[in-house]
Point group: C2
Chain length 336, copies 2
């Protein structure tokens, strides 16, 4: 059933509200390599559903990155694999009513296979790529929402749960991450009003910002400097990279590069920042960030990836020189 709302008014579908009210056991899952919106939205909804007497269990394939462990309730995420978790949950609580996918719109993005007889619910603000899933799903897809956290805020209100400090911190973090803490174009007057309400519930903006932006290890900072030293800028396209060797030299790992792609954007002439990190012998993860109207979605799709207009990514194989050229050639089509 496709119940995507076309308007910019964010109001949760009645079918989903009713389904949740009548449910007992729910599995909440979010996308692989989770960030603040994925984690915060999922935890906030879990706390709220349990407040209504529901049983919930939370799944993420990659666990909670260390710099998100400040989120109250992050320990709700289970360490089991999805099959074991489902089986244990059923044994303990009885039949599972639904799997809720948050901040993603296919089971694949969450790295799971949903059992054939299970309903699933999608709550996401990403544009669906290549058709919607089959009709065992209740879908609420709202690309106009700045964050899945904003959708979850309205859903929690619709469920009649009062937002407390713990829920507020999770929602604020979700919204902060996806709006660049209110700097991106998806920040609306409504977003700031909502954030204002969350602050009045006790959220301290400086604490969240410090946790999100000022909690780097010294090694991660050294890796950033090394990365920025690799900067090449031609035709408005900035390319920086981190090799496996550099990870070793600085004692860092893949998750330490979160946000690296944003730094070269501070240069006026940069229209697109491409950050490459080595994930195998000739295998790279590309993270792209663009300014203004430059749409990265088609570029990412053409390389088998995905994302938003101004932030997208994909995996690409080849030597560093080869892939730089490929990406630059493709980007020239959108930056001209």
């Amino acid at each position: 059933m496709n119940i995507t709302s076309p308007s910019t008014v964010i109001s949760p579908p009645k079918e989903i509200i009713e389904f949740l009210k009548n449910s007992k056991n729910l599995i909440l899952a979010t996308h692989i390599n989770p960030e603040g919106d994925a984690l915060g939205s999922t935890i906030a909804l879990s706390i709220s559903l349990e407040r209504l007497g529901k049983n919930t269990i939370l799944y993420n394939r990659d666990g909670v990155p260390y710099f998100y462990r400040f989120l109250p309730g992050h320990e709700r995420f289970s360490n089991s694999d999805f099959k074991t978790l489902t089986r244990d949950f059923q044994e303990l609580r009885g039949p599972v009513d639904a799997v809720i996918l948050l901040d993603c719109n296919t089971p694949e993005r969450a790295g799971i296979e949903i059992p054939p007889d299970t309903t699933y619910i999608i709550i996401d603000h990403h544009e669906p790529v290549g058709g919607l899933p089959e009709n065992r799903a209740l879908e609420w897809i709202e690309p106009s929402a700045p964050a899945t956290g904003v959708m979850v805020y309205y859903l929690i209100k619709a469920l009649g749960v009062e937002i407390d400090y713990e829920i507020a911190v999770n929602l604020y973090t979700a919204i902060a991450i996806d709006t660049g803490t209110f700097r991106y174009s998806n920040t609306t007057p409504e977003t700031l009003k909502l954030a204002s309400e969350l602050l009045s519930l006790g959220v301290k903006p400086e604490e969240i910002s410090e946790a999100l932006y000022d909690s780097w290890s010294i090694n991660r900072f050294k890796l950033l400097i090394e990365c920025l030293n690799t900067l090449e800028l031609t035709d408005g396209i900035a390319i920086t990279y981190v090799t496996e060797e550099l990870f070793k030299k600085t004692g860092t790992s893949q998750e330490d590069t979160e946000n690296f792609s944003n730094f070269p954007k501070i240069i006026k002439d940069v229209k697109v920042s491409v950050f490459l990190r080595q994930i195998g012998r000739d295998k790279w993860k590309a993270s792209l960030r663009s300014k203004g109207d430059i749409d990265l979605r088609e570029v990412a799709w053409s390389f088998g990836g995905g994302g938003h207009r101004n932030a997208a990514g994909f995996i690409i194989e080849g030597s560093l020189e080869e892939i730089k050229k490929k990406i630059k050639d493709r980007l020239k089509l959108v930056t001209k």
Copy 2:
């Protein structure tokens, strides 16, 4: 007359509102090395006063830095020196009713001498250092305000002027700069509500953020990398610096270092970031940034400078090694 409000409710003193309503010719001045709050507040108030039929002229000793020239109305700032400007304004318009000092609370901070027979008005959110000026001034000092821009917002409302897009951009920029675009502890629920109203008047957050944060020259970026390469971190104190030689090597100047002091703060272990830039043979400008409860005001005062709790600065003489040691020794008293 001291009419500092003690409460956190920001409401402009009646004496100032009445004075402005009855005035005809006003000079608006702000502090040397102006940033977004200084410039935005001053321009917003000037537009509003002219809307009421007043004549205004704007003064800043250092002019408008190139990266603030996106502010609508920035060309209102005169290039004349203060004496010439005052004389020309009087010849053209008649007697000057008052000089309004914005975002600073002494004429010295604005680099001016106010003629002995002239009233002046102070509108500022900085804590006054070393006693208040003599009583020719109407003072409105509100250290609880996150930005002078917030005070000016309430003043404009009290004057009965409707805030339009141009005023809104200036106020939004003023507030954005002084709250780290809503990331610092001075961001209140009220701040976000006010910002929400400014967005609904057409301010585009991504445009302001791009202008404020993503408009660096490539040379400025190179200077930053060189600067970060100088990082020393001991006992939670990060020190970075830029020498005159480095300015030459990268083709940059003093104003290019704005915001450099904030970068090392992203390291978790950093409690205070000290950024030093050379302004003479053995002369340095120190910019300090702290996290959380670490109060830098007394440190800055002890070196003859000033600022806020988490952001302060001063000028210091000596060799690089000498001043590093002096500053570290003094900071140890507040970081323990």
